[in-house]
Amino acid sequence: MAQIELRQVEKKFGESFAVKPLDLTIQNGEFIVLLGPSGCGKTTTLRMISGLEAVTTGTILLDGRDVTWAHPSDRDIAFVFQFFALYSHMTARENIAFPLQAQRVPRAEISAKVAEVARMLRIEHILDSKPGSLSGGDQQRVALARALVRRPAAFLMDEPLGALDAEFREGMRAEIKQLHIRQEATTVYVTHDQIEAMAMGDRIVIMSKAQVQQVGTPHQVYHDPANLFVARFIGSPGMNLLNARYSDGKAILPGGSAVTVPGAYRAALDHALNDSDGAVIVGFRPEALRVNVTDGECSGVVYADDLHGGYSMLHLELADDVIIHGRMSRDTAHPIGETMVFDIDPAMMRFFHPKTELAIHINGGAA
């Protein structure tokens, strides 16, 4: 169990920032996900927490203790990598027992602990196999068992599912989360997969270009993205974002449709957009698109229409190269080229400043 605190932690390689000054408090027992595209600084952040990478400036506290310059082995943190890093000449059991042997734990205690963690991960039947004969999922379970068996204060995981097939990933994702629920060990988890982040994180730290873009719960980052990057990155597809022009309570979309701006936003837009001449970006999630409405405010032309299994997606072209995506029930089919009238659910409408790219909030203008 541990609380991890980063205070103004930064990392520079030469003159360029790998991580810009970052403040973050990870609560005891929390599952926190560092999410972002490759090169955003998420793995460097994880490595600084572990001690594998030295900070350039800043302080790292573990339960209030300054560990900024402590050796990795003095931090009581277990690291799980994308690549399993198992010893191929040892059985699964010997691999799992290895960190305890290194700590000179008595033999009886070792076998009890290995048995316990094997039961938890349901790998009892493969304990005598060597890694080479195991599936990717089982190898990753053994690697997890080896991290868990030490009962460290915190787990750091760097894309542990990255090397697995899609079909395994969903299952392993749930297993890791369930393990976390049972153990309540503080976990910092790095991934570039937004679905994984949403499914697993108590909170998500979204990074891009060495900088934190937003820290929030899955609900917050999905419904109230702090900026355009988050709005695009979260969701599949991401938020629909349209360059619009605001005046007199309406936003004029590409193609000319005029959308009524919810009353609560008007004062904020008037205030925030006085330097942009009314230019604003209107955002809404695909499930906010309402078709089959009689007096819809907007219209678009069907670009494509496709089945995703339990639902369909309708793609509408509003103007040249401007396509929006709407999530629909499956029982509708729409021919390409048909003009459709639609509305945007006002409760799901969001607004962003075109220059700063920041969300405009109902109270207080630009964030």
Binding site: A174, P218, S236, P237, D306, H308, G309, H315
Partner: protein, 350 residues
């Protein structure tokens, strides 16, 4: 454009039958997807159609004409690969013009210009025509490779996982664009993928292959709503379909490792079956006939995945939006009874 038919195609590599008696017909202007795991025979099928691989048995017909003896160059199909294989030192324009300038075709320059301009417009790469391809992004390069196929106006497009090297967001948007282009250009296309979402979203019809055999052929709705085997049922849909082993007992189907049971549907049900329930058909419902406790919640924003534990069975349920349900909460739930799938002990649909 053209109609393509395979008749009982068998292809062996040594002792291994990569394709076994594969028959299919791709209609003119159809978007046909070959879906299956690695090693299923998808790419081999494509290569047999292109003439890059010679089948051991069976015939290939284009527009009713048997073309078994045709060389690849005479089959007039265009291949788009996962790797872009562009000429890095040539401009986008020259890459697009390249196939038309080949000695085989000797297309006049004005025609080339016309076709390149038109293809660039369709693919939204008109602004890149003067750029060297080495300086393009992955998505732009794949557009150019598709453009190079389009300018030839081939009988058919054969595409081998063209999107799989691109990142998730780009794949999503190119998927929609490719489908739009295919539908508006009316080009006969055969598209190979292992990604079920690509197959469902783009195809007019899908052939599911495994181990060199076609397991099922049909529209995306057919494949998703009436999977012919348990394998097909698990291959499409995410999260995966729930598969529950059950047996008959006193007029009921008892789901193993759980207190769940329901009346036996119909009178043809064998003693042992596997019930398939898609996660969106497991519905949390205060009137539902089943109970369980919520073991895990995965909030994905647009929807929430609930892991419901009933006895020792774990069921996935997908509900729209955000859920007020809490971890470990007891919930009542039910299946959409008209959307259940039943498989026999050999995994075949009943």
């Amino acid at each position: 454009m053209s109609d393509i038919r395979l008749e009982n195609i068998t292809k062996r590599f040594g002792d291994h039958a990569a394709l076994h008696e594969v028959s299919l017909q791709v209609k003119d202007r159809e978007f046909f997807v070959l879906l299956g795991p690695t090693g299923a025979g998808k790419t081999t099928t494509l290569r047999v159609i292109a003439g890059l691989e010679k089948q051991d048995h069976g015939h290939v017909y284009f527009d009713g004409q048997m073309i078994d003896s045709f060389q690849p160059a005479d089959r007039d199909v265009a291949f788009v690969f996962q790797q872009y294989s562009l000429y890095p030192n040539l401009s986008v324009y020259d890459n697009l013009a390249f196939p038309l300038r080949s000695p085989l075709r000797r297309t006049p320059e004005p025609t080339i210009k016309e076709r390149v301009t038109a293809a660039a417009e369709i693919l939204r790469i008109s602004h890149l025509l003067d750029r060297k391809t080495a300086r393009l992004s992955g998505g732009e390069m794949q557009r150019v490779s598709i453009g190079r196929a389009i300018v030839r106006k081939p009988r058919a497009f054969l595409m081998d996982e063209p999107l799989s090297n691109l990142d998730a967001k780009l794949r999503e948007s190119l998927r929609v664009e490719l489908k739009h282009i295919q539908k508006t250009q009316g080009s006969t296309s055969i598209f190979v993928t292992h990604d079920q979402i690509e197959a469902l979203t783009m195809a007019d019809r899908i052939a599911v292959l495994d181990d060199g055999v076609i397991l099922q052929m049909g529209t995306p709705f057919d494949i998703y709503d009436r999977p012919a085997t348990m394998f097909v049922a698990t291959l499409v849909g995410t999260p995966r379909i729930n598969l529950l082993n059950a047996h008959r007992h006193n007029g009921h189907l008892r789901i193993e490792k759980s207190p769940l049971e329901m009346p036996v549907p119909g009178d043809q049900m064998p003693e042992r079956v596997t019930i398939g329930v898609r996660p969106e058909d497991v519905r949390v419902d205060s009137e539902g006939s089943f109970t369980g406790s919520v073991a895990l919640i995965e909030p994905l924003g647009v929807e929430t995945i609930l892991h419901i534990q009933s006895g020792d069975q774990l069921l996935l349920s997908v509900i729209p939006g955000t859920s007020p349900i809490r971890l470990n909460e007891q919930v009542r739930f039910d299946f959409a009874r008209d959307r259940l799938h039943y498989f026999d002990t050999n995994g075949r649909r009943l």
